[in-house]
Amino acid sequence: MKPAFSVIFLTTLIGAAQGLLIALTAGQMYAGGQSGGFFALGAALALALLCLGLVASVFHLANPQRGWRAAARWRTSWLSREVILIPALSALAFLYAVIHAFGWAPVLVRLGNGAAIDLPLALGLLTTLASLALFVCTGMIYACVRFIRQWASGWTVVNYLLMGLASGFTLAAAYARLQDSLLSGFMSGAAVWLTLLALAARAFQLWRNTTGAPCSTLKSAIGVHHAQIRQITQGFMGSSFNTVEFTAPGGAETVRGLSAFFLAVGFVAPVALLLAGMPVLAFLCQYVGLLAERWVFFADADHVQNLYYQAKG
């Protein structure tokens, strides 16, 4: 598939934002129900990333003025569900920021063991839930494309979740360091573990994709039962949507090179930088790595329709 920069930026930006929101809620619980400016500014940062992601997504649409229509088919389309969830999560992040900024913390429920759930915590949990749901939507957009075997598995969803969490916690660690927050250590530690987990899952998917067998062959594509079939011409000497949208520039060499690059820059180096106590640099490094990762995610995907487009002429 042709990597679309709009989608690469959308998924990496909102992934980091969702991870950051989850990290903030986790930090809030870890710190024993703290509230205040740290969380407000953090949620504002997540909100800014979400909005940047939305801006990036607009560039993916040829007719963005009708973009609102994309919320119509949420019953069947994961893309539609994502379109609904991004603004919903943005609204929740906004509320989360406002409530923390003004320090409103009325107790909503008092549990049996005496612990209380106040408004910031309840909203944090709701934001976490929405973030997780958005990870599932984003992942399923790709995982439900049956015709790309590299995408059509649960691992796509797992990877979107883990990489989003990893970059979100790394961002939270960087932010906590800049704010001199006491949560800095907690965020860094979680970011290291999540990045390592994401590395394992993504590396497994890379390996899995190199070993799988294609689902369809030219035999069933044109319905001729012959052991040797080759295309003489795809029917035209120029290019078409089908020869451009479903191939990546650069070929297999670029994919291999960038795979090594993103494994090193997106996962290994950030872990080293986090352990060395440089979370800001770790986040910047990881973000660049994840951009490359998303590029490879697209470029590595081989669509079944490519069977029909093999020979110019």
Partner: protein
Amino acid sequence: MTKKQLALVIDLNVCVGCHACVTSCKEWNTSGWAGPLPDVNPYGADPNGVFFNRVQTYECGTFPNTETIHFPKSCLHCEEPPCVPVCPTGASYKRDEDGIVLVDYDKCIGCKYCSWSCPYGAREFDPVQGVMKKCTLCVDRIYDQTIEAERRKPACVLACPAGARIFGDINDPESEAARAIRDNGGFPLMPEWGTRPANHYLPRRKTTTTLHPDQLTRVDNPLKAEGETPRPAFTTPTIDGVSSW
């Protein structure tokens, strides 16, 4: 009674790969309801254009024992179209009344997600209007009351000089299309995906005759001899007496 499902049945045994269906499809549709079908850089080194129908050519076997297959490909109007449920706006839809899969160009936002969900590569994006386009089975032609009844067929079907394309309701057992599928072993493309394509293809068929040596001699030859009869002499009398040759 099963639902009406209009479709094409394409005979791979008959198609000669002349691309007449490609050009007539482009001609009709670029100026019709689905148009334009723009071409980018049409006279340059790397032209890129939108077509609803392509004729591809495949070869089987090893030389000299090869076989050439011309393979026209357009939207198959699947009975379980995977491109329809993924559309976030509902612009992609399958008509209830005749099973044609269409795109509402006023709703399409140009996200291209439907093309990812088509294993046949049947959808082509129009970069000028910014919407996804595809074969409409000439929906603006087959119901047009101003056209004489026998010409209310898709442009590709009318154009095919070899008669390789049959148009009809494949769910009506009495239609020519359904009969062709039933009688000649019609098959769908990539049935493994469960898309149930409505368009069917008829397989290549070998036509052979067995000749026996006695069939090579004309037993009913009135002159009892092979070859040209000897020219009669100039003076030989003939029936009309005017000319002997």
